[in-house]
Structure formats: C-alpha cells, structure tokens
C-alpha cells in the first residue's frame, strides 16, 4: 500500500514536471489566427512573401494561419526558374529571376496545405486554413 502511494506521488510529480516544461513556450495566442490586416481593412488580402535562393527558403518554412474565406496573396521571388504550387487549391504560377510568382485566392477550403515548388521540390510554407 505504502509503495503504491509513493508511486502515485512520483507519477504525479513526473507528469507535472513534464507538462510544466511543455507549458513554458506559450501556446500561440488565439488572436494570432486573425491577421491584423483583416481587422483593419477587410478587403485587403493576407500577404505572404517568400524568397528562394538556391535551396534556401526565407523566411524558413512555417505555418501561416488563415481564417476560412480570407483572401491570401502569395508572392514568391526565386533566383531560379520553377513553378509554385498551392496544394489542395491546385493553383500554380511560374517563377524565375525577375519574374515573381503572384497567386491570389480566397481560402474557402479548410485544412493544412503545403505550398511547394515543382522542380526543386521545396516546401515554401504551410497554410493552415481554419
């Protein structure tokens, strides 16, 4: 009985310690999903700008939170010729030196979608539409 009680306490301590660690990086505040541009000027599209140099993507691939129905304006600069593809929405645009890919669309479908280049197979970003 005593051994069991000690184990119970141990588990609770371990559980708390583990979750305490995971709590330190604060979860994305809910407001992050509402882009500032949308609140100030509803007609303006959500701007996402990405630059490719060689196999280097900047800003590094991350997740862009988009509200369902929001307009997205994706601009990609690249130092090599390629094709940009938004999965799920199946939108493509050519890109190359001096020729930016500009893709504008309304995010009507919820889900997690990758934006990729076809030739080099780079993931540029992920769109989380909710």
């Amino acid at each position: 009985m005593h051994a069991l009680n000690r184990i119970t306490v141990l588990f609770l301590l371990v559980a708390l310690a583990l979750t305490a660690c995971s709590d330190t990086p604060p979860a994305t505040p809910p407001s992050a999903s509402t882009p500032p541009s949308a609140s100030t000027a509803p007609s303006q599209a959500r701007a996402v700008e990405i630059t490719i140099r060689g196999r280097n993507v900047s800003p590094p691939p991350g997740r862009v939170e988009v509200a369902k129905g929001e307009k997205v304006r994706l601009v990609v600069h690249s130092d090599t010729g390629d094709e940009v593809h938004v999965h799920g929405y199946d939108l493509t645009a050519k890109v190359g030196p001096g020729n930016d890919a500009v893709i504008e669309f309304a995010a009507t479908q919820t889900g997690l979608f990758e934006v990729e280049t076809h030739e080099s197979g780079l993931v540029l970003t992920q769109l989380a539409v909710r």
């Binding site: 609770l12 583990l18 979750t19 305490a20 709590d23 979860a27 993507v57 889900g111 992920q126």
Partner: protein, 422 residues
C-alpha cells in the same frame, strides 16, 4: 507529410478546449491512475481470449458465413482491383487527378485498417491476391494451402514487418510517391511479393507477409466481432480479442513499424523538420534516416522495457491504432472524399474538388487526437496488466510491468507533443 499532395485537417493546440499542457497532464495522470487501479483491483487474469464471446443470432451467422457471402466479397475485391488497374493504366496520368494514389494511401492504408477495427479482418476477406492465388491453385489441381516449400515457423510475421517497413518508406519518403508511376510500381511489387510468396509457401504466406492483411487482421483484434475458438462468430469484449492475438515471432516488429512510421509522419510534416532537412540537398537521406531512426529507437525502447517483447506486443497494438486514428482521422475524412469524387468522375476534369469538412472541424479533430491517444494507451495498459498476471509470479506482477508502463507514459508524452507540434 503522407504522400505530400494529401491534406490533413487542422486541429492544433489552440483548438483544444483546455490549454495543451492540461490535456497532456491529464493524459499522463489518467494512464498512471489506470495502472495503479489495475494493480490494486485486478490481481488475477480476467481475460479469456479466444474462448470468450456471445454467439451472434444463428440466422445472422449463417448469412455471414454462407459461401455466397464469401464469394460475393471476393468478387467485390476482384472488381476493386480491376478498377484500380484500369485507373492506373487509362486514368489521368497526373497524380492529383488520378484516384489510384488516394486509393492506396487513404482508402487501403488508412481507412481499411480503421474499418477493420469495427468490422473484422476485411482485407483477408476481399484480398484479390488471395482470390487469384486460390484460382491458380485450382487450375494446378492442388490445395491453396500447399506450396513448394514449407515456411519456417521462426519467420513468423517478419516478412510482413519487412513489407510494412518498405511500404511506409514509400508512403513517407520518396518525393514522387504521389505520382501515378510510383503507385503503379508499388501495386506491381505488392502483387509480385504476395503471389510469388504464396506460390512458394502456400496461402499461409498472406497472413504472415501481405502488409495490408497483416495490418488489417491485427487491427481487427480490437473489433467487437470475432471468431471464437470453437469456430462460432461472436460479439466479444475487444480486450478478449486483443488477448487472443497469436504470439508469433515478428509481431512486435509489425506493431513498432506502424507506431514508428506514424510518429515519423507527425515529425516530418512539422515545419521545423522541413526547414532542417530540405536546405541540406539530401532530404531523401534525412527522411530515410529519420524513419528508420524512429522505428529503431521505439523498437529498442520497447524491447528493453517489455522484457518479453513477444508476449507483450499485443499491448502496443491499441497504442498504434489510437495514434493512427489521431494522426490520420482528418486526412481520411478530407482525402477519402476527394478520392471518392475523383473515382466517380472517372478522369473527366470538372474543376476543383469541393469537400465537406464538417466532420473534420478543428475543435473536434483536436479533441479526438487527445482522446484516441489516451484511449489507446489505457487499453494497452489493461492488456499488458492482464498478461503480466499470467507471465509473472504473483509478487512480481507490478514490478514486472513497471518499465513497460514508464515507456507507455513516455509514448503518450512524445506522441501528443508530436501531434500538436506545430
């Protein structure tokens, strides 16, 4: 991400009704509490395995077991295989317009095993390769269970584990995995591997080596429908079905491949992993190493902590199934529909596929992920505890399974953290 053209739904930390840290703590406490309650109130084995179950009404059993029903299922399987073949050969040749990739990666790989949890070993009943082999055996005038050679018993399910590892590599690593030629090659290799093996070793090969049958039959261990040791079709406690999982060599390896590959899929779709690997120019090597590393580390931890890997492998099965459900549920809803629409269209381009995502709304997906992971682990803890009461002497039951419990706590922590990584 699984065959990169496939989309998961969203269901992240911010979609949970409670902060993620609370959900994680709750999951760990629930599992630890289960273990403590079990050690106090479940001193002797209660499960009866294959002997348990309440027979179905005789009329229903007769219909389900009727030769006509079985033949109808086989015809259905053949028709399905014929359609997939036609779609691959004559359908649109662009991966995202063709229904075959979704059929392989979503219907067969994700939906079929999850349906097996509800209905029983579906793949075994419809398997077109089994039907083809049975037909060939009949033409040759010999029983399908006889082969040219006898398969060594010690192989157990190792051929299936190897085939599953090859499949998850295809599913998660090569950049072209969603293309029609890749899917065609995968089906061709699958057909050759299962049919040649069955010709060599007899139809017993399918149960040990066909990756889809191995997966589906194991998932069906958790089904409330099962066959009792006297041959009757019964409704039974899924814990009894799970306990009756045949203890064979390679069983643990199969389950660890399923668990490790699902965990790796969570990792490889996280933006952090993508940034780390794609700049290097050798993403293929990174991803291959990552997948093998996950399977290897999970397997090594399991082998050490379970002490008797073969006898406790069934307790990891519900954990793997829970994690698969958590990770692939939204994908099954979204991409299952897309595949169906592509299939019905039959290659005619009628514009963008519009999907109903009501069942994959973020709040529901997020809660389901936590519930599935926790339920999987609690089921595993119960199965392991009952087994421990039989394999360990009375005084050593708790001490004997403590390392396995610690491992399950670590799996829960790591699994939920990976699922909610981004």
């Amino acid at each position: 991400m699984i065959a990169d053209f496939l989309a998961h739904g969203v269901g992240g930390r911010q979609d949970l009704p409670v902060p993620f840290g609370y959900a994680l703590a709750g999951a760990l406490v629930a599992l630890a509490a289960t273990f403590i309650i079990l050690t106090r109130s479940w001193p002797r084995s209660r499960l009866r395995g294959a002997a348990a179950g309440r027979p179905l009404p005789p009329g229903l059993e007769k219909v389900l077991d009727a030769p006509a029903t079985r033949i109808a299922l086989r015809v259905l399987g053949l028709a399905f295989a014929g359609w997939v073949l036609a779609e691959m050969l004559f359908g649109p040749q662009l991966g995202r317009d063709n229904a075959a990739p979704g059929t392989l990666y979503v219907w067969i790989w994700v939906c079929m095993p999850l349906l097996s949890v509800l209905l029983g070993p579906i793949w075994r009943l419809i398997s077109p390769m089994r039907t083809l082999h049975a037909g060939l055996s009949r033409l040759a005038g010999q029983g399908p269970d006889r082969g040219i050679l006898t398969m060594p018993q010690r192989w157990g399910m190792w051929p299936g584990a190897a085939a599953l590892l090859a499949f998850v590599w295809l599913e998660l690593v090569p950049p072209d995995r969603g293309s029609v030629p890749a899917v065609r090659l995968a089906f061709a290799l699958y057909a050759a591997f299962t049919l040649l093996g069955a010709l060599l070793f007899g139809s017993g090969w399918f149960a040990r080596a066909d990756p889809f049958e191995v997966y589906s039959t194991l998932a069906a261990r958790l089904s409330p429908l099962g066959r009792r040791d006297d041959g009757r079709l019964v409704l039974r406690n899924p814990f009894d079905g799970l306990d009756a999982t045949p203890v064979v060599p390679g069983l643990a390896a199969v389950v660890i491949v399923l668990l490790g590959s699902t965990a790796f899929d969570s990792l490889s779709s996280a933006p952090q992993w993508i940034s780390l690997t794609q700049g290097s120019g050798s993403k293929l090597l990174w991803d291959t190493g990552g997948l093998l590393g996950f399977v290897g580390v999970l397997g090594a931890c399991y082998a050490v902590c379970s002490r008797r890997p073969r006898e406790f492998a069934h307790s990891i099965l519900p954990i793997a199934v829970g994690y698969v459900l958590a990770h692939y549920y939204s994908l099954a809803i979204i991409e299952g529909q897309r595949t169906f629409i592509l299939a019905v269209r039959g290659g005619r381009d009628t514009g963008l596929v519009v999907l109903d995502t009501t069942l994959a709304n973020p709040g529901f997906v997020a809660v389901l992920q936590v519930v599935a992971v926790v339920a999987g682990h609690i089921t595993g803890a119960v199965a392991a505890h009952d087994r421990a009461t039989r394999v360990y002497p009375p005084g050593k039951v708790m001490a004997g399974q403590l390392p396995l419990l610690l491992l399950m706590l670590a799996y829960t922590y790591a699994g939920l953290t990976l699922l909610f990584a981004a």
